[in-house]
């Protein structure tokens, strides 16, 4: 599946900063994501995820990106 608007290459980091190790920004993000769920039961974690999708979608804003993201996530389900 080809995407016109959605980034599928690694894109995490802090603008203007160059990480010493390419894996560090991704690993930092992943640790933050798991930590965001710390102490929540599964039901609360699901609700957190729903809220995250809403917040991040609004932040992205561009409906073309979101349309492609939803399609990409749906693949294989």
């Amino acid at each position: 599946m080809a995407f016109e608007h959605l980034h599928t290459q690694p894109h995490l980091g802090i603008p203007g900063r160059r990480p010493l190790r390419a894996y560090t920004p991704g690993d930092t993000f992943y640790e933050m994501l798991i930590a965001a769920h710390d102490g929540l039961d599964d039901e609360a974690s699901q609700r957190l995820n729903a809220r995250l999708v809403l917040l991040l979608s609004n932040h992205i804003g561009d409906l073309r990106v979101l349309r492609e993201a939803f399609a990409a996530a749906r693949q294989g389900l």
Partner: protein, 594 residues
């Protein structure tokens, strides 16, 4: 008993201290406790610098079982300096590529050394007992190093000027005094306990089975890691090649596994058969079930007692950051302890050992904890995210970058070290690349004295690396407190040298001389100020260091960059050197009250 290895048994003669008059205490400048890879490396490093070293160990042989297996490029470079790099590379299995599979399909791979022009590979696998055997051999060849087996330290009494140790042997007990004590007695560190010092962190609730098997197999020399393979559903498996046709297979078992039952051949063999297929012939060599923790001591320096390796910090095995970081501890400590004992640097220099290596330990703990959390998710949601990353990794490059089966050991960049002199603002001339103060110097091929060699082989003390003509006159630096070697880098083929051909290339010696060129305690000899010409045969020195005419780098004895300039002068160099020796003001004479 292993089929591929016979354990040596070492012995020491009856301790001469037992004949001393009661109350007489022998005094040693440095005592190292623990003859594992880290303690042996520490003792060798200090002895090579000319210090008399006493190394005590409570056992009489090498590591039982393969244990520490993966030795990283930086460790090999340190071992080169200690005279043991080549035997490790020769006996070990060199690899650079790691592959990660989900089920049976590859989802991600990495290459530890994607570029050429380094002497050493990304990683060499070698059973720990071989490394220890090579280090023991090297230690025994050093006249200033006394290695005592079956000498168990049973009490430590620290004092302002050192520590008094009580040592138990089969023939009796005695006491001795150490001006400085280097503690390398492992993760359970009896000395750390005797001193009542805490080590804090977390235990991971998972168990892993290591099975070393002997077999003929034509798998490539790569690290293979499976998430949820059909032969071990729901868990992870790691495969590594070792020396002597031994293969390590590491099975994740889960917290509820019974460690004793899992070690029995009737449990282990079916697991391996499920993985390798029923036709593959193999023999079990060594089996172990382990758990692990990520933790460190708050401080590694306690007055004149210095903790190194597992005694000071421990990590999960994913990333090979245990023995590799311990050997970097030693690399960091050796030159500092030597200069302090020699009276050439203030004791405060040893605080930088603590500052630099606790930061390194935190980096290792962070990375190995992140890998462990990815490999063994703690909650249902964490598992869902992990599985989503793996499912998406085949189709999406961003997801491949998130697959974390271990981030392998690399040298720590000591960016915030108090010993560094930060770069001056060079405007448009700012340095590109990664060799900022604190960085471990990149290797590169060079030609020195008509022989092909490697840049890192040239650096075993404070070194100035100068590109082209510089504003620094060697005579102006004749009275600095430590020997300072000057290397002048010139472009390939310049200054009338003829380009080498394949037929005329000679290989520079690959083991260092028994002792460094400048003996311990010697003054700054004039000879050290004649620059050595280094031909940058492939232009990689200039490229990796962003060297331009006039650029000068000051390199520490452990091969880390500590200062650099586009235009240098003697006062700036003196100030940087003083700072690198632990004088925080940059003033070479410690401040005294007027």
């Amino acid at each position: 008993m292993l089929s591929t290895y016979t354990y040596p048994t070492f012995s020491s003669p009856r301790a001469p201290e037992l004949e001393d008059a009661p109350g007489q205490l022998r005094r040693h400048p440095v005592v190292v406790v623990g003859a594992g890879p880290v303690g042996l490396s520490a003792a060798i490093d200090l002895a090579q610098r000319g210090l008399p070293v006493l190394l005590l160990d409570d056992d009489d042989t090498v590591s039982v079982g393969s244990r520490g297996l993966c030795y990283a490029k930086r460790t090999l470079e340190v071992l080169d300096r200690l005279g043991c790099g080549q035997p490790v590379v020769d006996k070990g299995v060199t690899w650079n590529v790691g592959r990660t599979f989900l089920d049976t399909k590859e989802v991600f791979h990495f290459d530890l050394l994607p570029e050429a022009g380094h002497e050493r590979p990304g990683m060499v696998n070698l059973q720990q007992y071989y490394l220890e055997e090579f280090l023991v051999k090297r230690a025994q060849a050093l006249p200033g190093l006394a290695l005592r087996w079956k000498h168990k330290v049973t009490a430590v009494a620290p004092a302002g000027d050192g520590a008094t140790l009580t040592v138990q042997t089969a023939d009796g007990e005695f006491r001795l005094q150490a001006d400085w004590l280097v503690v390398a007695d492992g993760a359970r560190s009896p000395i750390r306990r005797m001193l009542g010092l805490d080590i804090e962190g977390k235990v991971f609730q998972d168990r892993f089975l290591i099975a070393d098997v002997v077999m003929k197999a034509d798998f490539p020399a790569e690290r293979w890691f499976w998430f949820d393979p059909p032969f071990h559903p729901g868990q992870s498996v790691l495969l590594h090649r070792e020396a002597d046709n031994v293969w390590r297979i590491d099975f994740q078992l889960g917290w509820d596994a019974d460690p004793e039952a899992e070690k029995r051949p009737e449990k282990v063999i079916p697991r391996i058969q499920a993985m390798l297929g029923p036709e593959r012939e193999f023999a079990l060599e060594w089996v172990s079930v382990y758990t692990f923790q990520c933790r460190r001591m708050k401080r590694f320096r306690h007055g004149r007692v210095l903790f190194v390796g597992d005694a000071a910090h421990q990590v999960s095995p994913f990333g090979a950051r245990g023995a590799n970081s311990g050997i970097q501890d030693v690399d960091n400590l050796g030159w500092k302890l030597h200069l302090v004992i020699d009276g050439r640097a203030p004791e405060a220099l040893l605080d930088s050992y603590d500052a630099e290596r606790t930061v390194a330990a935190d980096e290792n703990i962070l990375n190995s904890t992140r890998s462990t959390d990815f490999i063994t998710p703690k909650t249902a949601m964490s598992r869902r995210f992990r599985n989503a990353v793996l499912e998406m990794a085949r189709d999406f490059p961003f997801a491949r970058a998130l697959v974390n089966s271990g981030r392998l050991s690399v040298a720590t960049h000591l960016d915030d070290s108090p010993l560094n002199t930060p770069d001056a603002d060079a405007g448009d001339d700012a340095f590109a690349g990664w060799m900022a103060p604190g960085a471990p110097l990149d290797d590169a091929p060079v030609r020195v004295g008509g022989r092909d060699g490697w840049l890192l082989r040239q650096i075993d003390g404070f070194t100035l690396l100068c590109f082209g003509p510089t504003g620094v006159d060697g005579a102006e630096l004749a009275d600095v407190p430590v020997p300072l070697r000057r290397l002048r880098v010139r472009p390939a083929g310049s200054a009338g040298s003829t380009a080498p051909t394949a037929q005329t290339i000679q290989t520079a010696p690959t083991t260092p001389p028994t002792c460094p060129a400048t003996p311990a305690g010697a003054g700054p000899a004039t000879a050290t100020f004649a620059p050595t010409e280094v031909e940058d045969v492939q232009g990689l020195v200039a490229r990796r260091l962003d060297g331009r005419p006039g650029t000068v780098y000051l390199i520490r004895p452990d091969q880390h960059v500590v200062a650099r300039w586009r235009r240098a002068d003697a006062p700036a160099l003196r100030a940087a050197l003083a700072r690198a020796l632990g004088h925080p003001s940059g003033d070479p004479a410690p401040a005294t009250a007027p």
